[in-house]
């Protein structure tokens, strides 16, 4: 049992728009046959962003959305007392393919490292505390939240960001070959959760329904590691929310995260 953090801010962006309030009622119907809902290349002013990858720009936008949600600026999270825990299942695929197929020049090899995406956030916002990068699907995001809570409980940091990013457009044909497109559309998404020390408890354990987040997934589509953070946003916007239980499944492994006393401070953050 770990001491539960409280949520100071949560930013979610997806191919549908900003936050889960932007989701359609039925992702498959709204996608109208499109296998991938892309976020495109997010525009930013400034020459320093010219060479930043699409996934890097999306990551920074998600972190800024979390800041907006908390009503804070970058100064609130800059420095060595902020931890950054990044999760992705496949966001590195686009840069890998670009490098393998020789587009953009061999010098872009550095961008293939999964570590480069959170590095863009760290550099943009001056976050230089404890650091972890976990690769996998939705259960890994629950693991990342738990790891952030451990870092907070141990006093290794004063605040922690959990960042998840997934993009699909560049590898849509590969996902089609892997039968990933049979159910929901693949929806590019990113989310950033800003956590601070709290008083409740957080418990991560195996076991969950075979198909978690059915209602959310029907509206959101497939977002791999972003799904639990979208579920958190979905939950906080629900008028009938109860105890927070986040569930996830991937590669036959299922996990759930039980989070007490998240609601009140969370509501204040909203």
């Amino acid at each position: 049992m770990t001491r539960a953090p409280v949520v100071r801010g949560l930013g979610v962006i997806s191919g549908w728009g900003r936050g889960t309030a932007a989701l359609p009622e039925d992702a498959r119907a709204a996608a109208a046959g499109r296998p991938v809902l892309s976020l495109g290349r997010l525009a930013r002013d400034g020459d320093e962003w010219r060479r930043t990858t699409r996934e890097g720009l999306i990551a920074v936008a998600a972190a800024e959305a979390a800041l907006d949600d908390a009503g804070a600026g970058p100064a609130a999270i800059a420095g060595a007392r902020t931890a950054l825990v990044y999760v992705t299942a496949a966001a590195y695929g686009a840069s890998n393919r670009r490098f393998i197929e020789g587009r953009g020049g061999s010098i872009r090899f550095a961008e293939t490292a999964p570590a480069v995406v959170p590095a863009e956030v760290a550099i943009a916002l001056g976050v230089c505390g404890p650091y972890a990068i976990l690769l996998g699907g939705p259960p890994t995001t629950l693991r990342a939240i738990h790891h952030a809570a451990v870092l907070l409980e141990e006093g290794a940091c004063d605040r922690a960001l959990v960042l998840a990013v997934e993009i699909f457009e560049e590898c849509a044909d590969l996902y089609a070959r892997a039968d990933r497109l049979s159910g929901h559309p693949l929806v590019e998404a990113a989310a950033c959760l800003w956590l601070e020390p709290g008083r409740g408890t957080l418990h991560l354990e195996p076991g969950t329904p075979r198909r978690p987040n059915v209602a959310l997934r029907r509206r959101l589509g497939e977002t791999f590691s972003v799904e639990p953070l979208a579920a958190l946003d979905y939950w906080r916007r629900s008028p009938t929310r109860g105890t927070l239980e986040l569930a996830a499944r991937w590669r036959g492994q299922s996990t759930r995260l039980l989070w007490t006393e998240a609601m009140m401070p969370f509501a204040e953050a909203v």
Binding site: M1, T2, A80, L84, A89, A90, Y92, G93, N96, R97, F99, I100, E101, G105, S106, I107, F109, A110, E111, T112, A113, P114, A115, V116, V117, P118, A119, E120, A122, I123, G126, V127, C128, G129, P130, Y131, A132, I133, L134, L135, G136, G137, T140, R143, H146, H147, V150, E154, G155, A156, L174, R177, A178, D179, L204, E205, P206, R251, Q253, T255
Partner: protein, 392 residues
């Protein structure tokens, strides 16, 4: 990060270019064997540098029938074969056995093969970087958490720390933790394009250093809570620290501030001061940029003791093994205490005055370093440090 409950490193298993078990690996390190050779497994004729620490033939596992045709997985299974033979894993209930592995490249070679036209669905699944860890868990019969870490070349250190977390939180009773990476055309072409590879030998901290060479390896340890570890052990993971540079996506911070924060955090977690450090296993890549930064950080942390704390880098022996590096270096630290010898840094003939440390060079040094500090740096400004205590 404070590691409140002591976490024991009960056993280890490795597969490297200089030996496919711990004893062979150790013997090669202390006798100065080099595992660097011309790469033969894939074409390198168009690259500036075609040498590296390639494992020519995997010899431990005889029956590969149950193991996917994925080199990353096969390296992991080879290392796990040695670990499993030591018996500790068999006493753990499968749902209480976890797997945490670090990697810089995951199954990227499977992605290359898929893009080259191999249409098998398995190839695409294994191209996701978390696939080899799940394949390893299946081979071990582990049913606990399966985690893949990718803090670039610091991944192995992060994996060991997360493994310790799983034990302290009670999510597992034993953790197979470690790291791996394979030599493949993707990574060779990448580092070649960055002009990071040397045509010379790897010469960490030497005036003539001109770059690194890559190697492939897998290294695993079995972690247990001290109260659960009744049998023999290699040592104890006393502390871990990490920090981001927030400076550049691929180059280290010239001031080394992130590395220094990581080292100091690891010492704090271990509840020891720099005075207690007997030995430093440096990241020591042999690149012009890395080594003076690392030497400066060690100088700041160790203070007046800097000239008397032995330092080595084992990368000249086997190449930079990326995700496996920190775990191999941790095992080397524990063996150094057990055997009373510190392996030398190969090819360090003319120490750079800008890297003024007590380098172990020429031959193994007789010493018994109980407390070791191991440093790791990686792309994306990832920095990590481990503090380890050897067991007799």
């Amino acid at each position: 990060m404070a590691i409140a409950e002591r976490i024991v490193i009960e056993a280890g298993g490795v597969v490297t270019p200089i030996g496919q078990d711990l004893e062979a690996f150790w013997s090669a390190l202390v006798t100065g064997v080099s595992g660097i050779s011309q790469i033969e497994r894939f074409p390198v004729g168009d690259l500036r540098v075609g040498r590296g620490g390639e494992i020519k033939k995997l010899s431990r596992i005889k029956a590969w029938g149950r193991v996917p045709d994925c080199r990353a997985t096969r390296l992991l299974v080879s290392a796990a074969g040695e670990l499993a033979a030591q018996g500790g894993i068999r006493s753990v209930a499968p749902p209480r056995l976890a797997v945490v592995v670090g990697t810089a490249l995951g199954g990227v070679e499977e992605g290359e093969r898929a893009l080259a036209g191999d249409a098998r669905r398995r190839r695409l699944r294994d191209a996701l970087y978390d696939a080899p860890a799940h394949n390893l868990a299946r081979w071990l019969g582990a049913q606990g958490p399966v985690i893949t870490v990718s803090t670039a070349c610091a991944s192995g250190a992060t994996a060991m720390a997360l493994g310790a977390d799983l034990l302290r939180s009670g999510e597992a009773d034993a953790v197979v933790a470690g790291g791996y990476d394979v030599l493949c055309r993707f990574v060779m072409r990448g580092f070649d394009a960055l002009k990071a590879l040397t045509r010379d030998e790897i010469r960490p901290f030497d005036r003539r250093r001109s770059g690194l060479l890559l190697g492939e390896a897998a290294a695993l340890v079995l972690l247990r809570r001290e109260r659960d570890a009744a049998g023999p052990r290699l040592g104890t993971l006393l502390g871990y620290g990490s920090a981001s540079d927030a400076a550049h996506i691929s180059a280290p911070d010239p001031e080394g501030q992130g590395l220094e924060r990581a080292v100091r955090a690891a010492l704090r977690a271990a509840e020891i001061g720099p005075d207690a450090v007997d030995f430093v296993s440096a990241h020591g890549t042999g690149t012009p940029l890395n080594d003076p930064i690392e030497a400066a950080v060690l100088g700041r942390v160790l203070g007046p003791r800097t000239p008397t704390v032995p330092v080595n880098s084992i990368k000249p022996s086997l190449g930079h093994t990326m995700g496996a590096a920190a775990v191999l270096e941790a095992l080397m630290c524990l063996y150094a205490f057990r055997r009373g010898l510190i392996p030398p840094t190969l090819h360090l003939d003319e120490p750079d005055p800008a890297c003024a440390l007590d380098h172990v060079r020429g031959a193994a040094r007789a010493a018994r370093p109980r407390i070791s500090l191991s440093t790791s740096l990686g792309f994306g400004g990832c920095n990590a440090a481990l503090v380890l205590e050897g067991a007799p």
